[in-house]
């Protein structure tokens, strides 16, 4: 019996179906060791030889290593080590096979949807998704129409947020195909965990995450404009004050490419150039970590200094690839999310591998009334927020917050969705009082450059540190865990998950959608943005029309 788990109990929430605990099949009786789920057996065994003091010593070493490396985040103006829990999350091979197939399928479908929505709009014509959902989506950018991305890829990087419900089933919570962040924590978490629990790395077969920068670099190079032999790739960051700046520097360094800011780039003669000490150098691929709105002051916010004026027209001419593409926000709009299962059936002729979370569309008749009446039992989210921004958990909100929310939702039903409060699965986490179950989610990352979608084996597990907390964002006291996808043992072939054919939109009857290829988003922390200085003016519109 492990001393560490002596007081491990379920969350104290009552009156709800208990959360699925990922380590223990049941708690509070019987032989603890026998309740450990198979994937966690090695971890449990290692921990059972450890006292709380020893584990805490290792956790402290981990935190000081992060502080020394600068893996920190800004919490209320104070620089703190990014909270990484010393207990990893383990995902068994069979679960991973499902996640990998489901994430890749989702990305392929969203890629096809983006090509369609900025092109022929067949999905609207065929009644798969209503026209009003598209034209009212804040992320539907008409400036993106007519930009043909190299290789048909718009979603170079995706972060698909998953949760595990009360029955242990994986579900998609949201898609992020704009500027998804957090992968740097996956990489650095792994480095420091190898020092924290070295005995387990020797014993278990844990799949590597170190491939990520190489795969991303290859995908970015593959998406260069046609005919460019040795493409110059850059990472475009909003700058040092951005909350994800650490990630931007890490990815640029690991890929061996330049990290640039808007002021380092300029457009000329139909191309975009980087200022260097040896003169201008043509740039072929921009892995941008700047939001659409700030990318080109000629097209979007005229006061932005974070991008480069003229950039969109260079992309339109096919002389630079912007990764991820402009206008992807229409695909991760939360109202569009509710149609993704049908988009998968329609574009791929497959049944979805991973289900959505049940969601109310507030425009549906009766939905708004229901949600307003039952708001205490629901989570209400803005459709264009990411990473928990603007989200309200009904039973945690004050009466004032709920009133304000009701007003906002009634004024703009299109701007919101509602979901049941789901008890996210729990994982043992080292907190002040010892080992305790804490709610978590998982963001796997997918990369695509040439049509094949590669899913990083692992992903960012975020964990809500306060007891019972269901929002796992770092801005709300969230931490993270290293995510270990365990390989199958020798001689044991993994069972591949093959999507089932769709009966609603079978292959034969489906129209052919040429140019639908693959592609990817941001929410760990949104890239924040500064404003363009007053050195630039908008050209006065050319006179009043008579």
């Amino acid at each position: 019996m492990s001393q560490l788990f002596a007081n491990y109990g379920r969350s104290t929430d009552t009156g709800r179906t208990p959360a699925w605990d990922e380590m223990f099949a049941a708690t509070g009786g019987g032989n603890e060791a026998e309740q450990v789920r198979p994937g966690y057996a090695d971890l449990y065994e290692a921990l059972s030889h450890m006292s709380q003091e020893e584990l805490r010593g290792r956790a402290d070493a981990l935190a000081s290593s992060y502080l020394a490396q600068g893996v920190t985040f800004d919490f209320a103006g104070e620089e703190r080590p990014f909270p990484l829990d010393a207990i990893p999350r383990i995902v068994e091979a069979s679960d991973w096979a499902r996640i990998e197939a489901g994430v890749a399928q989702r990305v392929r479908a969203l890629e096809a949807f983006l090509a369609d929505v900025y092109g022929r709009q067949d999905a609207v014509r065929d009644g798969v998704i209503p026209a009003h959902v598209i034209v009212s989506a804040p992320g539907f950018l008409r400036q993106a129409a007519g930009i043909e991305p190299a290789g048909g890829v718009r979603v170079h990087v995706a972060g698909i947020d998953l949760i595990r419900d009360q029955h242990g089933d994986w579900r998609v919570l949201e898609d992020n195909v704009r500027v998804p962040s957090g992968v740097s924590y996956v990489i650095s978490n792994r480095e420091v965990m190898a020092q924290t629990l070295p005995e387990l790395f020797a014993r278990m077969s844990i799949r590597q995450v170190t491939d990520y920068p190489r795969k991303l670099a290859a995908a970015l190079r593959a998406s260069a404009p046609p005919g460019v032999e040795e493409p110059t790739v850059v990472v475009l960051t909003p700058g040092v004050f951005n909350s994800a700046y650490f990630e931007h520097t890490l990815l640029a360094r690991l890929m061996g490419v330049e990290l640039v800011e808007g002021r380092d780039l300029f457009c000329s003669g139909g191309f975009i150039w980087m200022r260097t000490t040896s003169g201008p150098q043509k740039v072929d691929v921009i892995y941008r970590r700047v939001d659409d709105d700030f990318l080109d002051p000629l097209q979007f916010r005229a006061d932005s200094v974070l991008g480069a004026p003229g950039l969109l027209n260079v992309a339109r001419a096919g002389n630079v690839t912007i990764a991820n593409a402009i206008g992807n926000g229409v695909a991760d709009d939360k109202l569009v999310y509710t149609y993704v299962p049908d988009l998968i059936r329609y574009f791929l002729h497959e049944e979805p591998v991973l289900p959505n979370v049940e969601t109310w569309r507030l425009e549906d008749p009766g939905s708004l009334d229901y949600v307003l009446k039952n708001v205490r039992d629901l989570v209400v989210k803005p459709v264009d927020g990411s990473g928990g921004k603007g989200l309200v958990v009904g039973d945690r909100a004050t009466p004032e917050q709920l009133e304000a929310l009701k007003e906002k939702v009634s004024a703009n039903p299109r701007g919101w969705i509602a979901q049941p409060i789901i008890q996210l699965s729990t994982i043992p986490t080292l907190v002040e009082g010892g080992m305790a179950p804490r709610h978590s989610d998982l963001r796997p990352f997918a990369v695509s450059g040439d049509g094949d979608v590669w899913v990083l084996p692992g992903g960012l597990t975020r964990v809500a540190l306060p007891e019972g907390q269901l929002v796992v964002n770092s801005s709300q006291g969230g931490g993270s865990k290293d995510t270990w996808v365990v390989g199958t043992r020798a001689g044991e072939a993994p069972t591949p998950v093959v999507p089932q054919p769709s009966t609603r939109y079978p292959q034969a009857q489906g129209s052919i959608h040429p140019g639908h290829q693959l592609g990817q988003g941001d929410t760990f922390d949104d890239d924040d943005n500064r404003l363009r200085q007053q050195i630039e003016h908008q050209q006065q519109s050319l006179g009043k029309e008579a």
């Binding site: 007519g146 457009c267 001419a317 008579a546």
Partner: protein, 281 residues
């Protein structure tokens, strides 16, 4: 049928120098039903590369940049356009047919939503609803709304600005074609008729004489969809005909601004515009 030559010149003068100037011009007529462009070109001084493309609305756009310091920027659009819009019977959808069609197509539905420019005052919305309440089909309703709006707005240049909204112009009771169009769009959309903003030119003479060059201006009118798109010029209370040369379409003025851009340097102090139209045959 008329063959019209249009010359549209815009000149920006800066106090001191401007540089790193990135712009887009929407000044060249487009091919569309009833109109064929025989030739068109854009001349920019100082000279620089041009990047032509068609935007989401189908408008021919020319992106251009001037990266050298300059105290003046001059853009001249010249075109020769054959216009032939014979009077024809309008397609007349019922209210139900019109709504049903609009709901199924992004390209119609997006012209039913108000923009910050077209958002009507309550008074305008009520006026539109009153007209729609009488037993007329969408086509007749749209025309009646356009005429009722025109009756209430006095054509007075210089009272409103290029950035004015429909609400502002309505409160003043005065404005020019841009304002009248924005107000009429707001009223049409308020009763669920898809309607879009159109920019272009209008030959000032009702019966233009061949070979004579007329002083003209940029003009604005609208198109509503009542089974098919119908062009109507609310300022002049006339259907769009052979004197109109169409350049750009969009939801409001912001989608069709003839020149927009950003640059570094001193503020533009002067803007000079000149439009000339000649009937060639």
């Amino acid at each position: 049928m008329k063959r019209l030559r249009v010359r549209h010149e815009a000149r920006f003068t800066y106090q001191g120098n401007a540089n790193a100037s990135y712009n887009e011009a929407r000044m060249l007529p487009r091919d569309c039903s009833g109109q064929q462009v025989l030739s068109s070109s854009l001349t920019i001084t100082p000279h620089g590369p041009q990047f032509p493309y068609r935007d989401y609305w189908g408008t021919p756009v020319v992106g251009f940049e001037v990266l050298i310091p300059h105290s003046e920027l001059c853009v001249i659009a010249e075109s020769l356009v054959e216009v032939n819009r014979p009077l024809r019977l309008a397609t007349r959808a019922s209210w139900v047919e019109m709504r049903h069609e609009a709901e199924a197509r992004c390209r119609l539905l997006e012209h039913m939503d108000q923009t910050a420019r077209t958002d009507p005052t309550e008074e305008v919305a009520e006026l539109a609803r009153d007209i729609a309440a009488s037993p007329r089909d969408p086509f007749d309703t749209a025309q009646a709304i356009c005429e009722a709006i025109r009756d209430r707005i006095e054509y007075v240049p210089g009272v409103t600005g290029v950035g004015s909204t429909a609400k502002e112009a309505w409160v003043k009771g005065k404005g020019v074609c841009q304002d009248i169009t924005h107000i009429a769009l707001g009223a049409l959309r308020a009763v669920g008729i898809p309607a879009r903003y159109v920019s272009g030119y209008l030959h000032p003479e009702e019966q233009p004489e061949v070979g004579l060059t007329a002083q003209a201006e940029s003009h604005a009118w609208l198109e509503w969809h009542s089974g098919s798109w119908m062009g109507f010029d609310p300022t002049n209370r006339i259907p769009v005909g052979d004197r109109h040369v169409l350049v750009a379409r969009g939801r409001d003025y912001d989608d069709i601004a003839p020149v927009k851009g950003v640059y570094a340097g001193a503020e533009a102090t002067e803007l000079w515009v000149d439009v000339k139209i000649t009937r060639e045959s």
